[in-house]
């Protein structure tokens, strides 16, 4: 059974991992998708539904942690326009 504390910790872990993506678009997407995902499931009260969502989030975190290693090994050669302070 996933407690409130566990859910919050999962959200934080996802955000923390997502921040490390070297690619601008994927970094931003991970952040937005994580926040929206938790927001969408905020109203869940049925414990089995909560567990289901928690398990899914956990699986997503595993994916992020796995691919993050590869993405970090191959950082982009140049930064995205959006990351540069233009004139």
């Amino acid at each position: 059974m996933a407690s409130k504390c566990q859910v919050r910790s999962l959200c934080r872990s996802l955000l923390r991992a997502g921040r490390q993506f070297p690619d601008y678009n994927i970094r931003e997407y991970t952040k937005r998708r994580t926040l929206d995902g938790f927001r969408m499931n905020k109203s869940l009260t049925d414990q089995s539904k909560v567990n289901e969502a928690y398990a899914e989030g956990k699986a997503q975190l595993e994916v992020v942690e796995r691919v993050l290693k590869v993405y970090s090994a191959y950082p982009p050669k140049t930064k995205n326009i959006m990351e540069l302070k233009l004139q």
Binding site: F21, Y24, N25, I26, E28, Y29, R32, R33, D36, Q60, V63, V64, R66, V67, V70, Y71, P76, K77, T78, K79, N80, I81, M82, E83, L84, L86
Partner: protein, 459 residues
């Protein structure tokens, strides 16, 4: 004609100083890059990237999602996992390696089938939507060539369908290219009238790649069913973006592509209906894989990636659409707020939200694209982006030559951010204003002269 002359002078005055400046700056690195032809040298410059003689300060923001999409990290993860152990030939029946690879392929087949409401047995994997379209159009007509001699398609189809049709014409088949209305939609009544007793195939694409209009698929499907004619659709731009159901649309054949839905490139699928059975002559002959319709060993990893991309697309469709719709509105409103003479090409009501094809009056399209180096956009499809000719799709819509020349296709996708849209608006507006300032045409319009009534002298 005369307007072209003016445009070309603008272009000349525009590119000259720009080219001169950049050439002086990157002489050393650019020269090295062209002689040794190593990609790495292009990035050694401290102040940005120099490629094809163009200096860009960073990676441009990507707004060309109709040409292709980036790989989703979740798809990447699935491909990675499959790359390590699923190396057996999925068609090997004698050992575990083959069985495992086959299982992986069958899982993907299920995922693809589920997205479009089909049975997994009706999915044929191949190299992409171009191969799927070729197989469908040529394959059906070749198989039924004794009785059926006529194909109906539209003028706004993708090049691979049009070219397949042209190929058929050379073989003696007849093709009707249906015109479209000014909003890009097919006139269903016209389609009904074009049907002949020897019509063997109707091919209409679901979502247009250049203008993003969604054709009335259900209606077309109904007409084809009434006349018992196979209906093929190119749904490369549609699957995973709008709800697709092969039963509702009543399609007999449907082309799909992996790289338009954040999957890998080089993989696609053709849906081939089993009941009523539609038969085709394969393009590839050989080992008889994929029900004999596409011989050749399947690329297990790409197929796996395509499958996962389909599953993701199904799960994320609603969420993505809401986001993309918001960005599309933001982009359109932002540009319209600051610029006049902006026209949306194609129907706004029947349109996939991730596509915004805009024409900017009194601006030359090529100069606009050249000036928008920080935004990765295109004037139309990637296949024809090398030519200076205006898009044949826009011409089929009856868009004026000058407006067709200035079209830009903005493609918004899953990974596009709000800040990118704001930046794109800023850069586009800046560039359009700059070009208009130089444009004698725009000056005349502002003075109240109707350009259409001017009698240009002939050269």
């Amino acid at each position: 004609m005369a307007s072209k002359v003016i445009y070309s002078t603008i272009r000349r005055t525009l590119t000259k100083p720009h080219g001169a400046v950049s050439r002086r700056h990157h002489l050393s690195t650019a020269a090295a890059a062209t002689t040794t032809a190593t990609a790495v040298d292009n990035y050694n410059d401290k102040s940005g990237i120099v490629m094809k003689g163009v200096r860009i300060s960073g990676r441009p923001l990507y707004l060309d999602m109709q040409s292709t999409t980036p790989l989703d990290p979740r798809v990447f993860d699935a491909i990675n996992a499959s790359s390590i152990y699923d190396y057996g030939n999925p068609h090997s029946r004698t050992h575990l390696y083959g069985w495992e690879a086959e299982n992986a392929v069958e899982v993907a087949r299920n995922q693809v089938a589920k997205l479009i409401g089909a049975s997994p047995k009706e999915i044929v994997f191949l190299s992409g939507a171009t191969e799927a379209n070729n197989t469908a159009v040529k394959g059906v007509m070749h198989f039924y060539k004794e009785k059926k001699k006529h194909v109906i398609t539209t003028q706004t189809e993708h090049k691979c369908v049009l070219d397949s049709c042209r190929h058929l014409e050379q073989e003696g088949f007849e093709v009707t290219y249906l015109p479209v209305k000014t909003d890009g939609l097919v006139d269903v009544e016209m389609l009904r009238e074009a049907i002949r007793p020897d019509t063997g195939l109707v091919s209409v694409m679901a979502v247009n790649n250049e203008i993003g209009v969604v054709q009335p698929m259900e209606e077309i499907g109904r007409i084809c069913k009434e006349h018992k004619i196979p209906f093929h659709t190119d749904a490369a731009q549609a699957i995973g973006k709008i709800p697709v159901d092969v039963e509702k649309w009543n399609v007999s054949l449907m082309s799909m592509s992996g790289h338009k839905i954040y999957g890998p490139k080089g993989v696609g699928a053709l849906y081939v209906r089993r009941r009523p059975r539609i038969r085709l002559e394969p393009l590839m002959n050989g080992g008889g894989q994929e029900r004999g319709l596409r011989s050749g060993t399947l690329s297990t990893q790409q197929v796996v990636g395509f499958g996962v991309a389909c599953e993701l697309a199904m799960k994320e469709m609603e969420y993505d659409e809401q986001w993309i719709k918001r960005l599309q509105e933001r982009l359109l409103n932002g540009v319209r707020e600051k610029l006049d003479g902006v026209v949306v090409n194609g129907s706004m009501e029947n349109r996939y939200v991730g596509n915004l094809n805009l024409s900017f009056a009194y601006v030359e399209g090529e100069s606009l694209l050249m000036g928008l180096k920080e935004v990765a956009v295109s004037s139309g499809s990637a296949c024809t982006s090398a030519s200076l000719e205006p898009s044949y799709v826009l011409r089929a819509l009856g868009v004026d030559e000058d407006m067709a020349h200035t079209s830009i296709r903005f493609g918004i996708g899953r990974f596009t951010t709000e800040e990118e849209i704001d930046k794109a608006i800023e850069l586009t507006v800046k560039q359009v204003e700059k070009l208009r300032e130089m444009s004698p045409l725009y000056e005349m319009v502002k003075e109240g002269i109707d350009i259409k009534n001017i009698q240009w002298s002939q050269h």
